[in-house]
Symmetry: C2
Subunit: 306 residues, 2 copies
């Protein structure tokens, strides 16, 4: 079929928004993508239900493939399609049914995050210092919930070059009245010893238990391991993926972000994500609870030095 111009415009616009959104965490990005689907159930220009389904499937695939490191987006969108009830022939009713389904899934995702936060909070004590890296909506919700529950936590946050999303996190924590230390990534090993726990969000969790998260996460996990500080991941289960580490795509963003002039011999690299091996992760918190992972010493060992 030839797609209506309005449909193409809508999809191009939403695709661009997902591709260029470098500041939202994976959960927020996944929910935003579902909201795009919700909008599209209403506004897409189609003559009948089969073509509505075709258009929704097309948008799901477009947005789901836009950010390969952020498996949560594709997962949640695919779940929308896979659990979509059979749509009625009547186009108006079909749009309504698809919209309700998208709304339910947005609500399910929101609840999953709240439950994961609740389980994680139950493990934190009054007066603890939590260190995090980059920004995760789940970690923000956790820190806010702790403060509201009267647990007097302190937080160490990184500025998170090049996106600098740590600045907004510091501003948010300041507004919440949470005592915060703000550092460069380079200082992570120096400051992790002050933390009782490191807690980060996830872009995706791979088949072997490793984590895809913002660049720098692996360094922080190594520093935490070396200092004997637990490294926790707070992430809803829809971030699970069947991908193996060797197949994961760590997205690289435009080199202009690093603000270095172009030079013939210098290649500016801007890989946005990091792979944290399972052996460096101490616990997982999701909507089912917190699972502390006990590992043998041998499992935690670094590779021999060549």
């Amino acid at each position: 079929m030839i797609y209506a111009k309005d449909n193409l415009d809508f999809k191009a616009r939403r695709l661009r928004a997902v591709k260029t959104d470098l500041n939202s965490g994976a959960s927020v990005l996944a929910r935003k993508a579902l909201e795009d689907i919700l909008d599209y159930t209403d506004c897409c220009d189609v003559p009948n239900t089969p073509e509505l389904l075709e258009e929704l499937t097309d948008l799901v695939n477009l947005l789901g493939n836009a950010r390969p490191s952020r498996v949560a987006v594709a997962n949640l969108l695919q779940r929308f399609l896979q659990t979509l009830p059979e749509l009625p022939d009547d186009l108006r009713r079909a749009r309504g049914r698809a919209a309700v389904h998208a709304e339910e899934l947005i609500e399910t995702a929101r609840r999953a995050q709240m439950d994961a936060v609740r389980h994680c909070m139950a493990e934190l004590s009054d007066g603890m210092t939590i260190m995090t890296h980059s920004v995760s909506s789940a970690v923000m919700a956790l820190l806010t919930a702790c403060q509201q529950a009267g647990k007097k936590i302190q937080v160490i946050v990184t500025e998170s070059r090049p996106g600098m999303e740590g600045r907004n996190l510091a501003r948010y924590l300041n507004r919440q009245g949470i005592e915060t230390q703000f550092i460069t990534e380079a200082q992570m090993a120096h400051f992790v010893v002050q933390a009782d726990k490191v807690i980060v969000g996830a872009d995706s969790l791979l088949r072997d238990g490793s984590l895809v998260s913002k660049a720098g996460s692996r360094l922080l996990a190594l520093a935490a391991r070396d200092a004997g500080i637990p490294f926790w991941v707070l992430a809803e289960s829809f971030k699970h993926s069947l991908i193996l580490p060797e197949d994961v795509v760590l997205e690289e963003m435009p080199e202009e972000e690093l603000q270095l002039e172009s030079m013939s011999r210098v290649q500016v690299r801007n890989v946005y994500f990091d792979l944290v091996p399972a052996r460096l992760i101490t616990a997982w918190a999701d909507e089912e609870g917190v699972r502390v992972v006990f590992r043998s010493l041998a499992e935690c060992l670094p590779a021999p030095v060549g």
Copy 2:
């Protein structure tokens, strides 16, 4: 005695220059401080030789204490005093004698770096990829020497927030025609696996074999260890110190450098230096040669996770 105003002005100016010089490596800073001493032998306003000696001693102490993480400065300046021959009574001749001594020490320091570079280069093979962090004049000299000797090395450099001295290093390597990748600190663990060796300079080497170097060095050493990549330190022996790690001062610089607005709950931290424990260091290169350190597995183990 009451110091002449010109003397006070000179010393205040040089002290400020040493304190605010955040871009020079420790070797360069130490040589610059000796050049200040050299200038002062000539220009300081004193009536006789004993007061010349007193003034030089005062400047040595001022500059030597200005940057506690950069032990090389104090070491080299103290060596100037300790090896200063007895000065003749004649003031003009005394100035000349002290100046020659300062010049000889500058030359000795320069030769020590050249010799360390030569020993280190002998261990590097054609086609190797070297990763470094921040800027060290010794590492720059090493990379240049490799290129001039026709060893086709590639280099991975970090931007080195907040001073961003990595940008100048990238520009320098580009001018030398050396293939370079330029990354943020956050990407160090992702890129270290491409390196054959990590080689960094030193601000000081402590009594127990640990290293004081630019913030982020410890993270890079951990990432190198985890990936099985050797972590080498290239540093002249005048950077050795008798200080123990627990007594070392890791200088903190103005928080304004991180460009975050002031907020009541947010403390901006800008610790410029890192302590890299001896167990993470694979080899030392100095003017005597390269010593590869063999460690038992137990020595390399991280602390148990609490």
